[in-house]
Structures are given as C-alpha cells and as structure tokens.
Amino acid sequence: MLAIHYDSSFDGFLSVVFEIYRQHLDVGDIVPVRPYAAEGAAAPDLFLQPFRVETDEESARRLRRAILNMAGEDILSLLDCAFRSEEPGIEMKIFAYLRKLFAGDSRGYARNPTSDEMLPLFTVARSVRREQGFMLGAVRFGKAPDGMYISAIEPRYNVVDMLAPHFRSRFPNGRWAVVDVHRRYGVCYEGGQVQLVSVDDPEAIAGVERSDEFARMWKSYYDSMAIKERLNPELLKRCLPVRYWKHLTERQVDASSLTIGGRNSEKRGADGLGGANLPSAVARSRSLALGHAGV
C-alpha cells in the first residue's frame, strides 16, 4: 500500500488519480505536501510506503475532460470546491467518488447527490461556497500610501482566488490585492489583470487595513449601531465567528491598534518610510509571481 505525496494543488491531485489508474497503484492514502501548516493534519502512517507523484498538466487536463464527459461541469466545480476545504482525508473521499464514477456500475451515479460518496463532498462543497460568500463581505481594504487597496484575510478554506472575479467586476479601474495571510499567497489586480502572487512577509500587510481616519470612523459607526437592549453575544458569534475578528477593522478592541497596526509600527519607523514598505512587500512578492492565474 502506498501513501502518495503530491504538491497540494488540484492539478497535482488530478495527476495523482491519473497515475493511480495508469500504473494500477495500490493506494492507501493521498498526502498533500503544503508549504504551510494545515488544520488537523494527521501524523504520517508508518505502514504505508511513501511515493511521490509530480504534477503533470497534460494528465490533469485529460482527467478533467474525462470528468466533464462522465459527470458534467457543475460536478467538476463541486469537486474543486470540496478539494479547497483542505480537510484531512478529502482526497480519498474524492477518489472514492471518482472510482465509482469511472467504474460505471449504476446509471445516474454521477449526478446523484445522496449517494454515500457524494453526500459528504456535497456538504463540504456547500460550506466552502458559503465561506467564499462570507469572505466577499469580510474583506477589509486599507489604502496603502501608493494608492493600492490591500486586504489581509485568514479564511478557513482555500478560497482567496475565488474572490477575484467579484472584486474585479466591482472595482474594474482600481488597484487592489487580497492576501491569505495563513497560506501566504493572494490575488493582485492591477491594470486590468488579475495575478496570483506569493507573499513572503504577510505580517507587513496585516495592519494596513486599519490605519486611517475612515477606519476609525467605521469603527465608531459600527459601535453606535448596536442596540443595547438587544445585545446578544451568542448570536454575534454564530453569525460572525471569533476566528474572523482578527482582520475585521470594526472588531478591534483597543484604540491603539486602530492607529498603526501593532508591532508593525516599529518596523515601519525603522525604515523611515512610514507605511511605504507595505506595498513594496506586495511588489517584491509580485516578482515571484506564480504566473497568470486563470481567474
């Protein structure tokens, strides 16, 4: 039995499935190798033999086409969404579905949302899409000195590049970047082009969204909107889970963090550039761009 390692991209996963079929591999587990720590990742299984599969775009493309033919476009996007959840073991769940799909035993299996393999994928994909919709509202841009609007987020699932189409159509003439601080990459929009960028120093970005007068006005407006006779902390936590408060301007408790973002202030002072190193953090990483994203 093999534990197959791959580079944690969706194309990489499709290449793994392709190789499993091509080489008739006996697979025990599929393990992503991520550049960041994932939530709830399991310890490696000692009884499985490690095996590495490199991402191959051609085999991923062929498998995509096969899924399109067998199931349809919406199922492919559903699998993509479920994959983005990065839950431990999600690869094996998708693989179980694909195996039954390609076995072709029962008619209509591909589109049955209540089958044993599909239902968990369906519910996971639903929560990934919900997270994406939530993030459309929870992004808080801050204006960097060079006029770019920058936002740091920490979504539970890997949805940051799914946000790009929305903000591109909303601010078509602007320049903006949304960065996933935890996964150390983001999307950047400039001159009509959306690019995926990797970010080396996410800490530099984290404070920019709460550093101006409008941020302070927004915070005080937010505080005045609550009706004190109806205060309901439990409802608040259900609608707006505590894990997201860190990057929301209006949920910052102390006034000092609203002036200049916490510890970044020292670093900025040392530069003698004020906040000018913030966009340069993005600019530097833009040179490391992963290439044009198809978003």
Partner: protein, 420 residues
C-alpha cells in the same frame, strides 16, 4: 461639528430601522466608475446585537418636525441634532465602499421643513452618486410620506430599493401614537412606486432604465400597540400581494421614550414574538403557506413554545406522515425540520436511490422534529398516525431545571382534621 460626530449621531438615530438587505438587484460597475450589485446580497458585518450590517444606514438629518410617540427622533426629545451635507455623505459612502465596509447606502431622514424639501435632499445624494461619481453600489432610499410624485419617481430611477415604514399595524393606533400620520399618507407613496415599477418591469428593452430593481420593503413595530399576530400577518400578506413588497420587517418595540400611550419604559422588547413572526413570514415567502393557514380567528396568536411550522403540523394530523419517496415538493416542505435546501436535495436524490434516515441526517435535516412527521418503512403500521397530544411535549424545548425550595410542596404531617 466634525464628520465623525455627525456620523455617530445620525447612525445612532437610524439604527432602529431594521431593514438591512442588499439583495434583489444586480448591477455591473458603470463605465468609468465602480461598484456593483450582487443579486443575493452580501452581509459585511454583524453588530454586537447580532443584526447584520450591510449598508451604511444613516439619517440625512434627525431634526424632525413630527412628534411620533414611538420614535427616538421626535420633536419633543432632547437629543443632539445634526444634518449632513450631500457632499459629506457622498464622500463617506464612496470611501467606505472602496474599503469594502459596506454594500451601499441606506438613506433615511427625519422630516425637516416640508416632506418635499427632505425628499429632494435624499434624491440629490442618490443622483450625485449615480450620475456624477458613476457609483454602481446598492442604494436604499426612504420615500418620505407626503413628498410629490415627481420626486418619488426620480428616487425610483436612482435607488435599488425604496421603503416607507408603516410602523404601527393598525390605522387607529397609528393616528393615536403619531398624530401627523395616517395609513392613507403611507399607502399613497407605496402604491405610486408599486404602479410605476410594474410599468418599468414590463419593458424589456435592452437599454431601458431600471426602476427600483430590488422593489420595496416596509417595517412594523411589534408590541407597541395591542394588535394580534393574525392582524400583523394579514397586513403583511396584503403587502406581499398588493404592493408586491419584497420584504416586511418586524421590529420588537424597544421602549426609548417615556410616554403614557406606550408600554412602560422598563418593559423588555418582545424578542421571541418578533422571532416567531419572522418564522411565519418565512413560511409565507418560501414555503407556500397562506397567512390564514398559519393563524385564524380562533387562535389569533403564534405559539411561543413552538415554531409556526410545527404548530401548523400539529393542528393538521391528517396531512402526515409524508412519504419522502413519493410526496411532491410542496408537501415535503411542510414537514417540520425540513428546509428548502433539504427538500430540494431529497427531490433530486430520490430519483436514484431510496432516502434513508441516515441520509437525511447527513443532509442536515433536523430529525429531532422531522421524525414524527415522515413515513418510514421501519415504523410499524399501527404507529403511522400522528397523535398531536403525544408529539407536542416531545417538540417543546425542555425548561431548564430549577432549584426547588425545601417547603414548596410542604404537606403538613398530620391531616388537618386530626390536628383540630
């Protein structure tokens, strides 16, 4: 007075307006500008009371000339007054929007001078945003009762949604609490806008302008005057049918003014009643219930212990159990514990395989409620009839256990007859 102070005063004055939705209108960013409308609406944050904030909800001014008993901005209250200039408000909206704090602007106002004067200011802000700054975000404008038709019409061209609040659900109580208002003055702008909207909606030419694409909404205060839930639901059903309202909001009365015409200032807001009314409202909008199915003259109020759907189900045992394999979508929707998403999933999944209890659980159906109302092959035939009096105690949430007092159930050791 600086802008921040004004924003706090006028935001604080607007917070009792419940409407927060930014849905129903999809716009692309206009050429040379920014901002778009999302059909489903986007919530941006939630205030400490758990209500969503999606629009910058402010009053243009809170210097009101009316004296409505229930309102925080009434003439006789001693509160700080402020008024925006259109430019301040436009700048604020655009800066907040660029930072993705809000989905658009919700602009209301107290009546300053005449209704026409006030409406003109509101329209001017919307017009500046749309035509000068090419702003494509969401705009919700209040229609001021008594404003002229020309201004209302212009508001409809720039705004996505408009609303007039009816506030008190019966005409006599409204005139008692708000001497300057009556139903007629509130219905007039509603009907005007509804008629105009029908005219624009029937025109499907590619470049025809939009007129209130997200329709109208209204709001009523619950618990300030003595209406029953039936009266409230009947009124809102009328709004949905006749004025084609998109939403009717309910607002549990919060005692802000000491006034002998209103509940005492110490009374608690009727939050549970408001919640039940919203549940009933959802049944009417998404579950194909009619208002007279939910309540009737013999029981004119909603059950506080049970949600309205379970209440209806217990009054109609002949409708259950529903067989999930064969029943139509509308009947499945009526099962307590099954919502719109689960019902759709059941209908699309049952073509391929049987729906089992485990599957329902994985789908997210609340089996705790649903299990009494669905047909399942495992239950013996003798139990396939619903006994409401047996099921009801199982559905009602258990009270939290209380500490008993030592002498609460004190029985004298000797019967009274002997001790005498």
């Amino acid at each position: 007075m600086d802008l921040r102070e004004k924003l706090n005063i006028l935001g604080d004055a607007a917070k009792y307006d419940v409407s927060c939705s930014s849905s129903g209108s999809s716009r692309c960013a206009p050429k040379g500008g920014f901002g778009s409308g999302c059909e489903a609406g986007i919530c941006h944050t939630w205030a400490a009371d758990g209500r969503c904030i999606s629009l910058l909800k402010v009053l243009f001014s809170n210097a009101c000339k009316y004296d409505c008993a229930y309102c925080v901005n009434r003439r006789s209250n001693d509160i700080p007054r402020a008024t925006f200039t259109p430019k301040e408000l436009v700048d604020l909206t655009m800066e907040f929007y660029r930072r993705n704090y809000i989905e658009g602007l919700f602009l209301s106002s107290a009546v300053v001078g005449s209704p026409d004067n006030t409406m003109e200011q509101l329209v001017r802000v919307a017009k500046d945003l749309r035509t000068v700054h090419h702003f494509g975000g969401y705009i919700h404008l209040k229609a001021i009762p008594g404003a002229s038709a020309r201004l209302l019409f212009e508001a409809g061209l720039y705004a996505d949604r408009s609303s007039v609040n009816i506030e008190i659900p019966s005409d006599s109580a409204l005139q008692y609490l708000a001497p300057e208002k009556n139903f007629d003055s509130i219905y007039r702008p509603m009907n005007f806008l509804a008629e105009r909207k029908i005219g624009y909606d029937s025109d499907h030419a590619r470049h025809s302008p939009k007129f209130l694409p997200a329709g109208q909404s209204t709001q009523m205060i619950v618990g300030a005057s003595g209406e029953t839930d039936l009266q409230i639901l009947r009124l809102s059903a009328g709004f949905y049918q006749q004025q084609q309202m998109k939403r009717v909001y309910f607002s549990g009365y919060i005692p802000i003014n000491a006034d002998k015409r209103l509940p005492a200032i110490t009374s608690k807001p009727p939050l549970l009643r408001e919640h039940r009314l919203y549940q009933a409202d959802w049944l009417m909008r998404f579950y194909n219930f009619r208002h007279d199915e939910i309540l009737d003259e013999s029981n004119p109020n909603l059950d506080v212990d049970l949600d309205p759907k379970a209440m209806w189900a217990l009054r109609h045992p002949e409708f259950f159990p529903v067989d999930l394999q064969t029943a139509d979508y509308e009947s499945i929707l009526r099962v307590p514990g099954i919502g719109v998403k689960s019902a759709r999933l059941i209908v699309s999944g049952r073509r391929f395989s049987r729906i089992r209890l485990e599957t329902l659980k994985k789908m997210g159906v609340v089996l705790k409620r649903a299990k009494y109302f669905i047909y399942h092959p495992d239950t013996p035939a003798s139990l396939r009839r619903l006994y409401p009096e047996m099921v009801r105690p199982l559905l009602v949430a258990k009270r939290k256990p209380e500490q008993l007092g030592l002498f609460d159930n004190y029985v004298p050791a000797l019967p009274a007859a002997i001790s005498r």
